[in-house]
């Protein structure tokens, strides 16, 4: 890709900025942090027209990488800002692939810099707790009346928890494939690995998901008895 994928650690001002616990950017050299570039009005409208439709995709991707809503929002906002600044050098091609590459790199940089992962662990634990209580509630309602909505919720919780357990390099490929319906070629550009690697990671990811889901399903069934 000729256009701008900013790789982790290479973003504007990455040398001047470091993340502190609490997520505040600490920048020592103000003027060099965001080299401000002026887009023309036309270019600006183009940016909005091409990139804004992918905001949901960008958010969902960041949400699965960062694992909590607030960090995902911060990362996507940062990614949009970087995309906006890199836009003059964007040379066409799939805008979604271009934007997702930036989102991923921002996320990975932030994950690397995360000093205190305690916040994440806490949220993940909290989610697991919610799921556990959800799972616990099902048998009672099954006795009275099978509640389709509740069952669907439980199913979602199971699949989500299995997907959350995948390591990041497998998880991101499943997210891009199943939620964004991207081709192996597009995924390989975003993740910066050969297509063959995408194929093998996807196989591994699906095999692992199957195992995790079988465990989950059995666990659920045991609960129901």
């Amino acid at each position: 890709m000729g256009s701008c994928p900013i790789r982790p650690g290479e973003g504007p001002g990455s040398n001047e900025c470091q993340e502190r616990p609490g997520n505040n950017l600490v920048c020592s050299r103000v003027s060099q942090v965001w080299p401000l570039r002026t887009l023309t009005l036309r270019k600006n409208q183009e940016f909005e027209r091409q990139m804004l439709p992918h905001l949901d995709a960008a958010y969902n991707f960041a949400r699965w990488l960062m694992r909590n809503a607030e960090d995902a929002e911060d990362a996507v906002q940062d990614a949009f800002l970087r995309a906006y600044q890199a836009f003059p050098s964007y040379q066409g091609g799939s805008e979604k692939t271009w934007l997702m590459t930036i989102v991923r790199n921002v996320c990975l940089t932030r994950l690397q810099r995360r000093v205190l992962p305690s916040k994440v662990v806490m949220l993940d634990d909290a989610m697991r707790e919610v799921e556990a209580t959800d799972a616990g509630r099902v048998p009672a309602s099954l006795n009275s009346r099978p509640d389709a909505e509740l069952l669907a919720k439980l199913e979602h919780a199971r699949v989500r928890s299995a997907l959350r357990k995948l390591p990041q390099d497998l998880r991101e490929i499943v997210v891009l494939r199943e939620f964004e319906d991207l081709s192996y070629q597009e995924i390989s550009e975003i993740v910066a690995v050969p297509v063959g690697t995408v194929t093998s990671r996807l196989s591994r990811a699906r095999a692992l998901l199957k195992t995790l889901l079988v465990e989950n399903d059995n666990g659920g069934r045991r609960n129901e008895m």
């Binding site: 950017l25 965001w34 600006n44 804004l52 600044q85 989500r160 192996y184 194929t199 699906r206």
Partner: protein
């Protein structure tokens, strides 16, 4: 084709990533081999289960924040710093650094008037909390009580929304004076927190899109609809306040 070979190609076959010839070969194999065909069905089931989860969509307030700041750029005439609010975002990051520990949530346009009203909104909120009597001039959780109460006190009619079921009980109201205008102030609760919702006729400094700002531990969300400007302020966390704001915006106009 042998089973191992077919097995290796199952993913790419499923995703439509095989060349036509290989794809046809896998298909032929699946027709004749029950065990591979069963494996393929498992595959399809798994992918369907994952796909059914769907995307986690970006929260409405977040979308409003991003698109709002872009729209704002588009209104700028060319040659007049079209990156103003993005620039302001960068500036606000730096401000956050300068102040140490202040998180800036939104793209705060670098307008004095705007900055001024945000501070004024927070001031009014803090002032209202000094005493229960300054917080509410009328205590009522009934919108049908509160709307007529405003008649004769202010020259516009704010929509009053009841959000008890959503966990934001309406507590009461007062008339306040904010940014050189009379404002209807509706008071809501959330656990021990208090939320002030200020409604006043919109002026040039208010923006249509929902924007969120944090300052000194307070979160302010503001937007404008039908010629009225809405400002929500509380020490509640930003996600909950965003939820509250979206509910108010959605229900407005309905009893």
């Amino acid at each position: 084709m042998k089973c191992e070979e077919a097995h290796e190609l199952l993913d790419a076959f499923h995703d439509g990533e095989l060349q036509l010839a290989s794809s046809a070969a896998v298909e032929r194999h699946l027709c004749t081999c029950p065990s591979c065909s069963a494996a393929f069905n498992l595959h399809t089931t798994l992918c369907t289960r994952v796909r059914r989860l769907g995307r986690m969509p970006a929260p409405a307030l977040f979308v409003a924040r991003i698109s709002g700041s872009l729209r704002e750029e588009n209104r700028e005439p060319t040659g007049m710093l079209p990156v103003r609010s993005w620039r302001a975002l960068a500036a606000s990051h730096l401000l956050a650094v300068a102040l140490g520990g202040v998180t800036v949530l939104g793209f705060v346009p670098a307008r004095h008037a705007h900055t001024f009203t945000i501070q004024e909104t927070i001031d009014a909120h803090v002032r209202s909390l000094i005493d229960e009597r300054t917080l509410m001039q009328i205590v009522s959780s009934d919108s049908h009580n509160l709307r007529p109460w405003f008649m004769g006190k202010i020259d516009f009619s704010p929509a009053v929304v009841e959000l008890d079921k959503e966990g934001f009980p309406l507590l009461g109201a007062r008339v306040d004076y904010l940014a050189k205008r009379y404002a209807a102030a509706l008071v809501y609760g959330r656990r021990k927190h208090r939320i002030n919702l200020f409604v006043s006729p919109a002026d040039a400094s208010s923006t249509a899109a929902m924007t969120a700002t944090a300052r000194n531990g307070y979160n302010v969300v503001e937007w404008q609809t039908d010629g009225l400007s809405y400002r929500v302020v509380s020490d509640l966390d930003r996600a909950e306040l965003a939820q509250f704001s979206e509910l108010v915006q959605m229900r407005r106009g309905r009893p």
